[in-house]
Symmetry: C2
C-alpha cells in the first residue's frame, strides 16, 4: 500500500468527461489525509484525433508509464471511423502495457433493476484475457474491394499468455467464498486454441484442489447468464469471448451504468488502467444524465490494485447503500450522485 | 413444391431419437395424401463412432446427397472427446453440402416462459453464415504441450461467401412486414473481416431501399437481446457470432426446447439439413421428458424450404396453439406432445 498515488487521468469524450470528474471526487474523498494524490490529465480520444490525427504516440506511452495507474472515462465519437480509436488507442494501450488480466466483476446490487425476471442473485467476476486471441490485429486482406476479396483474422494463443491469466483466475477463485472457476471457450470447434486453453486449465487446476472447476462452451454460457447467472463465481476466458459475455453480464446485473473494469498488469511493470464498461454515449453527453457509478466502482478496482483495500471496500459499500436507497438508476444528476457517494465514503 | 419427399433421417444420440420420432409423426400427419414421403434412417453419431470409429465417410456423403432434405435429432455423448463429432460430423456436413445459410428464427410464443421480465415481444430471424469465419478449421499448433506452445485459429472471410449470405438476409428482410436488417459483427476490432462484411452489407443495401438497416457490435447485441429484443427483425452475422447470439436468442424466446434451425443450401445443389438447436441431453435421454417442439418446428422450416408453405404454416399454428394451451413447457411426455401436434395439423 503506497502513501502516494500518481494518477494519469484520461477523461476522453462525451460522458467520459462527466463521469471521470465524479470518480475523482470520490477518490479524493475516500483517501486518508496521509496518502498524497497527484493527478495529471491527458487529452486522448476523438477530440485530439480530430485536431491532430494522433491517437497514442510513443511519447504519450512514455508519459503514461510514469504513473501508478490510469483512470479512463470513455473515448470515441461518431465522427471517427470505426476501429481507429479502438485499435489506435484502447487496444494499443492494453498491448503496450501488457494488460493481460481484464477484470470485470458483475454483482446485482439490492435495488438495482435487471431485465431478468425474479431478481436472481448475481455475484461473479470475469477474468478476460487481454493481450491475445483474435485481438492481436493479425490477419489481413487480399484483393480488397473486389469480388475476390479474402479477409482473415488470426487468433493467436500462447501457453505463456494463457497460463498466466488462468493462474490469476485460480488465485482469485481461491480467495472467494465459493471457490469456483469456470472456463468458457468453444473447444469443440476452435480445437487448436481450445485444447491449449483446456489443457492448461486442467493442469493448473491440479494445483488448486480446493477450487471447484467446470467448463462451458461460450454459446451455452450466454444461456446460463440469463437462466441461471447464480451458477457463476469466477469465469476465465479468451479475449473475444470475454468481450461478448461481459457486456451480457453487465446487462443482466444492472446495466452498463454500473459495470466497472480493470485492464490489469499484475506484475506492475506498467501502470494498469481502470474504466467503466460503457462508451462515450454522445447522445446524452453534456446533460448531466450519465450515471457515474461504473466509474466510481472502477476507482474501487484501482484502489484495490494499488493495495488500498479498505478504501476500495468503503467505495463499494457506499455504492451499494446509494443504489439501495435510490431503488433504480438515474433520478439525480451525474454530479449529485458523485456528491452523494463522496459524502458517504468521507463519512 | 414437390409431390414427393425423399428424406434422410438422422436421429442421432440421446433425446435425438425421441424427438425425431415425434417430428416424423407430425410430418406424416401434415402432408396431403398425394405427397409421397419416403424416409431412410442413418445411424450417424456417438453410437456409430464408438462402434466403428467413423463419423461421416465419403460413402455416407454420397448416400445423403440422394435425398431432398435431412432431418437431424442431435448427436453426441460424454464418451466422445470434444470436437470429434462436431468437426467430424456436424461441421463436415455443413461444409460438404455448402450450408451457407444457417437460419434460426426466434419467436416468443404466447404462453411460453422467458427469463426476461415483462414478457417482451420477440420475433426475429438470425441468418448465420455457415461455411466461413472461424469455423473453417484453419489454424494449427506448434510446440504442442510445451510451455512454448502457440495455437492459432484463422477466421476466413470471402467476398463470395459474405455476399451470398448477405443477399439471402436482405431478401428475407424484404419479405417480412417490418423489413429491417441488422448486421452484427465486431468491425471495430476485427477490422479486416469487419470491413469486408460492412462494405458488402452497405453495397447490397443500396439495392434494397425499402429495407431499413443498422449495424451493432456483437457485444452490444447481447445487451439488446435482453433489454430490447423487439428491436430486431432480421439479423445477419458471421458463423461464430451467430453461434453465440442464437443460443442467447433461444434462451430469451422460450429456451432451446422450442428453438429450430435450418442449415440451408439455397441453390438446392445439395440437401439442406434441419435440426433443433438443442443437443442430445444424455441426462434426460430415454425418459420421455424431452420437448419435441424444436424438432417439430424444424420440420416446418424443412417444409418451407421444399416449397410446402401451407403445411409449414399449419405446423407453426399447431405449435402456437399447443403452447398457448399448456402455458409453459413439459407437463406431458415427449410422445404426448407429438400426438397432440399431429392431431392438430391433421385436423
Ligand atoms: C471498444 C472495444 C475495443 C472494447 C473491446 O472490444 O475490448 C470494448 O468493447 C470493451 O469491452 O472494452
Ligand atoms: C455443436 C456445434 C458444432 C454447433 C456450432 O457451433 O455451430 C452448435 O453449437 C450449433 O450452434 O449448431
Amino acid at each position: 500500500m503506497s502513501r502516494s498515488i500518481n494518477l494519469a487521468v484520461i477523461p476522453g469524450d462525451g460522458i467520459g468527461q462527466e463521469v471521470v470528474a465524479e470518480g475523482l471526487k470520490v477518490l479524493s474523498a475516500v483517501l486518508p489525509q496521509d496518502v498524497k494524490l497527484e493527478t495529471k490529465e491527458y487529452d486522448f480520444g476523438a477530440r485530439r484525433y480530430h485536431a491532430t490525427g494522433e491517437t497514442l504516440t510513443d511519447a504519450d506511452l512514455d508519459a503514461l508509464k510514469q504513473h501508478d495507474a490510469i483512470l479512463l472515462g470513455a473515448i470515441g465519437d461518431p465522427g471517427v471511423p470505426s476501429g481507429v480509436l479502438e485499435r489506435g488507442f484502447l487496444l494499443k494501450l492494453r498491448f503496450a502495457f501488457d494488460h493481460h488480466v481484464n477484470l470485470r466483476p458483475s454483482k446485482l446490487l439490492p435495488g438495482v433493476a435487471t431485465p431478468l425476471a425474479g431478481q436472481p442473485e448475481i455475484d461473479f467476476v470475469v477474468v478476460r484475457e487481454g493481450t491475445e486471441g483474435p485481438y492481436t490485429g493479425n490477419g489481413g486482406t487480399i484483393r480488397k474491394g473486389t469480388e475476390h476479396e479474402v479477409a482473415t483474422e488470426v487468433s493467436v494463443n500462447t501457453a505463456f499468455g494463457v497460463e498466466r491469466v488462468v493462474r490469476d483466475a485460480f488465485a482469485r477463485a481461491q480467495a472467494r467464498p465459493r471457490k469456483k472457476l469456470t472456463l468458457v471457450h468453444k473447444n469443440n470447434v476452435l480445437t487448436f486454441a481450445g485444447h491449449l486453453w483446456t489443457n492448461i486449465f486442467n493442469k493448473v487446476a491440479a494445483e488448486y484442489p480446493d477450487v471447484t472447476t467446470d467448463y462451458i462452451h461460450v454459446d451455452a454460457a450466454t444461456i446460463y447468464l440469463v437462466t441461471d447467472p447464480g451458477r457463476f463465481d469466477v469465469i476465465v476466458t479468451d479475449n473475444l469471448f470475454g468481450d461478448i459475455i461481459t457486456d451480457l453480464a453487465a446487462a443482466v446485473s444492472g446495466g452498463i451504468g454500473v459495470a466497472a473494469s480493470g485492464n490489469i498488469n499484475p506484475s506492475r511493470e506498467f501502470p494498469s488502467m481502470f474504466e467503466p464498461v460503457h462508451g462515450s454515449a454522445p447522445d446524452i453527453a453534456g446533460q448531466g444524465k450519465a450515471d457515474p457509478t461504473a466509474t466510481v466502482l472502477s476507482v474501487a478496482l484501482l484502489l484495490r490494485h494499488l493495495g488500498h483495500d479498505a478504501e476500495a471496500a468503503r467505495i463499494e459499500d457506499a455504492v451499494s447503500a446509494d443504489l439501495a436507497e435510490r431503488g433504480g438508476l438515474p433520478a439525480r444528476s451525474t454530479s449529485d450522485i458523485g456528491d452523494a457517494l463522496a459524502a458517504r465514503v468521507a463519512g
